[in-house]
Amino acid sequence: MQVVAELNDSRPFSRVLVANRGEIAVRIIRACRELGMDSVAVYSDPDRHAGHVRAADVAVRLGPAPASQSYLAANAIVEAALATGAQAIHPGYGFLAERASFAAAVESAGLTFVGPDSRTIAAIGDKLAGRRIARSVDVPVVPGTLEPAAVSRPEALAGIIAAAEEIGYPLLVKAAAGGGGRGMRRVGRSEDLAVALLAASEEAQSAFGDGSVYLEREIRPARHIEVQLLGDAAGRVVALGERDCSIQRRHQKLVEEAPAVGLSEAGRKDLHAMAVRIASAVGLTNAATAEFLYGPDGSFWFLEVNARIQVEHGVTELVSGLDIVHEQFWLAAGAPLSAGAISAAERAASPGGHAIEVRISLEDPARAFTPLAGRVGRFRMAAGPGVRVDTALEPGERVPPDYDPLVAKLMVHAADRPAAIDRLRRALDETEIDGVQTTLPFHRFVAASAAFRAGDLSTDFVETYWDGPMARRAAVHQALLAAGLAAFESIPTPALLADQPAGLGWPAAARAEAIDRWPR
């Protein structure tokens, strides 16, 4: 293995461009620094002073706020890599991460794409192709269509409606190029199918530049369980373990944990083996995730492969002890699977410890998790034993409305699931954000929920257990009460002002307000 000899005692690349923003860009830049590589950040105008720009060694402006003119501007990103002497581009998740055309452009510019190669992305990034591949290696797929529905031709509609009857209602219309619930519609009856097809197709076209959609039976209740995969250029693929990501809203994950509660060692081995079979069939290199639905009868149904690093990769890192982004860089540089990865895979079916992640986003949990934007005031993240926080945000910074509202991932790790839940509650108590509404109330509810502790997980968890308006009303009552009562009490001097010369109460309070007032 010539390549290995060259890589020993060295680093995968000397300089890497990170084609992303927010917490994932910072997380990748951290890996670059640990591996002794320079990092190049790219940014849009509203991100001029963002955390990922601060963290990097070099920063390059891409363009104005709209993603199409910044983080999706493939040519500008490749040019930035060439101009700054970067050897590799890490796409993170979202944006260009699963666009085969981008990976191909990176490759043809003589650079290394840190992820599966463009052919693999094309092969499994297309959800329909992924379904066909899974079936070819005897992995059960969710019943549905295997070819794109011809939305634009009205005369083909009869065929689709017939296919839908065969699948049965309710069903889901999904974008072939999709992810994150975009370009997805739930259809309860045949009359609504035509409208849903068109709406999903339009949304998919606008989000992914590809309007192809297909049909899939809706399996409910079900858990969402996925398997983290790594593959090397020699064709070896391993599974590092599974994650349960059942707690979702609008098909976007809110809480993830590893391992999945309630699986036996044999069940884990079967699941991991199915994921490895699919990945091997497409010659997966680098990192990817195979997603499955887990029915109440204990059966797994393959959903799709995500050919990129996932938002929730951190819980697998905590349980396996492996740094997946480090592994991605070594694999991209041509190294075989590391000894650490192979031993982590050997332990994957009998994991020690438990990790949970909550996604803290600017969303209103009382109004169906509507995305928000705005300036945060205080932003204090938890720390201490077994706590990891991935974020790019600092107090007083503005979260622009143009991108995903995720601002921080709070992860905890403990010896077992009950201890991890206790730790999560503690960490959430330490987490303080004001100025904007976040998903924190929901996470606090989950961490305190008997259903969650009992492992009663399903993709219906939010609908079944979460009454956002009611939870908010109780909190509003207490907020009004506290603010009212506080006006009758003298206010202790804030810690920031404690060392200043003593003054009369009023001037001190006025100073506290002046210092404390966030720009709005």
């Binding site: 509003v476 009552h477 603010a483 307000e513």
Partner: protein, 198 residues
């Protein structure tokens, strides 16, 4: 009025417009107790604030009759006074259980005088104009109506794309479109006027 000096006074406390939702309570708070407006028959809540540092406190609420002997203790974060309006309203932020609430405080005496002055002004009835405001920041990607159009309840007015999701806004009742304040392609912020119905 960050601090009330006369213990006999009381405050009217409501969520500020930015934090307000239908059905939110209005509290009349005195020193050590509070009542909810519209629930005068109910016994007032007895509660106190125990400061930790200058911004964190424990709200200790005495349980209602029969609900157990121990006070309910809730950790609250009291933010700075954000704004004082010229008519004596103070706005500050409170965070409870992860909920971010902007709170308006006003001396009850003043608030009730203002209410009395306003009485007699006709309220906006079912035939009045309805302003449809942006409930989320985003971009207008579809506009289904124009000025003068008659719409029925539930009819789609426009589509806002936010975070790449299409969000349809619908008419709350049958009405006529009086004004369309946005065009396809416009970016909108939370609270921007979109459409006026009459």
């Amino acid at each position: 009025m960050a601090q009330v000096t006369n213990p006999d006074e009381s405050l009217r406390v409501v969520p500020a417009p930015a934090s307000r939702a239908p059905g939110d309570p209005t509290l009349i708070v005195g020193k050590g107790s509070a009542t909810t407006v519209g629930e005068e028959q109910a016994a007032p809540v007895t509660a106190r604030i125990e400061w930790l540092d200058g911004e964190h406190a424990i709200l200790a609420e005495e349980p209602s009759a029969g609900a157990g002997p121990d006070p309910i203790r809730t950790r609250v974060m009291l933010g700075p006074v954000r704004r004082r309006t010229s008519d004596g309203i103070v706005i500050r932020e409170v965070v409870v259980d992860g909920w971010h609430v902007e709170v308006e405080l006003e001396l009850e005496l003043r608030a009730s005088l203002r209410d009395r002055a306003r009485r007699g002004v006709p309220a906006i009835g079912p035939g009045g104009p309805i302003e449809i405001l942006a409930q989320l920041p985003g971009r207008i990607v579809g506009l289904s109506v124009g000025p003068g159009d008659a719409v029925v309840a539930g009819q789609q007015l426009l589509v806002i794309e936010a975070m790449k999701m299409h969000n349809e806004l619908r008419a709350p009742r049958a009405a006529t479109v009086e004004r369309v304040a946005v065009a396809v392609g416009d970016g909108v912020e939370l609270g921007d006027l979109l459409v006026v119905l009459r």
